[in-house]
Symmetry: C2
Amino acid sequence: MIVKALKKGHSLQTEDGRELLGPDATKGERTRVRILDEAVAVASEGGVGAVTLGPLAERLGMSKSGLFAHFRSKEALQVDVLKRAAERFTEVVIAPIREEKDKPKRLGLFFSNWLDWLEHPSLGAGRGSCPVMAAYFEFDDVPGPVRDQAAEHSAQLYDLIRKLARIALPEADEDAVAATIDGLALSHLMRFRLMRDGKARAHTMKAFDALLKNPPLKDA
Amino acid sequence: MIVKALKKGHSLQTEDGRELLGPDATKGERTRVRILDEAVAVASEGGVGAVTLGPLAERLGMSKSGLFAHFRSKEALQVDVLKRAAERFTEVVIAPIREEKDKPKRLGLFFSNWLDWLEHPSLGAGRGSCPVMAAYFEFDDVPGPVRDQAAEHSAQLYDLIRKLARIALPEADEDAVAATIDGLALSHLMRFRLMRDGKARAHTMKAFDALLKNPPLKDA
DNA sequence: GAATAAAACGAACGGTCGTGCTATTCTTCT
DNA sequence: AGAAGAATAGCACGACCGTTCGTTTTATTC
């Protein structure tokens, strides 16, 4: 069974349009999602490379082969883990900003949500960090479908940032602004999780506010 | 035999002060460095976690057990790989900025060198990226000596950036500046290596120049 | 050059990994 | 309720992993 992620509506659905997780979902579809959610938690703690069949099956109370049957291969599982994590990201970070009707303010809301996501990932119970971001660096030089998936997600996210920047700061150079914002999030994760810097958020927000106030201008 | 890395002089030496690599170095010391250099190349391509004994030994034309004998464990090897990579970083990125006698200009030189390092790591032959940066995200939630080493290096580097920022931009908030610069380097690596964005450097430098022109100020 | 120490090897171990098979249990649909 | 099909379990395999051990080769020291 092939499942695809939708860009809008933040839900998974099968090829024929039925919702996963809903009561009309098939047994296999439901456990499939259960597996992926647990796998995202594992990936949050040890990276996508740490998503391994045996231990994952044990965490779920099922057999390794039973789990394996849901995915053609481990690589396919890892790709789906990334997709599922991106889904979560959309739900938690991107979707809520639509409630802000003052569109120029959406950039700040997006960034704030992003930091929340990095500090308190809904999965991993405080012991994990964003698996997608980790995959950016884990697979950046490892060719294969996992790398491709990570690259696609990073490109989509980067486009979104540019778009939000264009609306919020019409006179700014959107590429330079996006580079700075993207970097602030990456650096924030590093300072917060690796260095355990309690002031990480304050420093990140100060830099972000300064960027909004004096952004790089076009043709400067 | 215990080897320690020096912060100054960018060379390895043994506990009794003899230089490694010099003609008076012992056989074991020389091959030890050879192993680490090759291991850094491997780590550049696949991350520190990809440093594995068998394939590494084969690349070096030696036996797995002979290689293993140089390190008490695989973890110790990985830690030393990180140390060696940090050594290289010091040689290529940090040491040369001392030649700039106009100290405020050192920040820009440092950043430029950093981007050079990320784009053309002396090891990995174009197929690898900075292993230390990758380790930041690979091990940020994996307790152990490898994580500790990565954390220590990130803290040292972050301190250096703050110090350079303080000299270059005395009126600026050094923490916010450091966060932005650190982030720009991380984001640059992502755009250059994962997204293969040919314009990455131009965008990064534009953002950096804008930061120097309008940095976040203290107590703003 | 002989004695001693260091370094490298080869083979083997226990363990874990991903992946095929076949059989069994459970859903789902008529 | 029963047939058809999906989902899961059990088991085995080959490959690779880190590590150990005893032996052999190579450096170093006297």
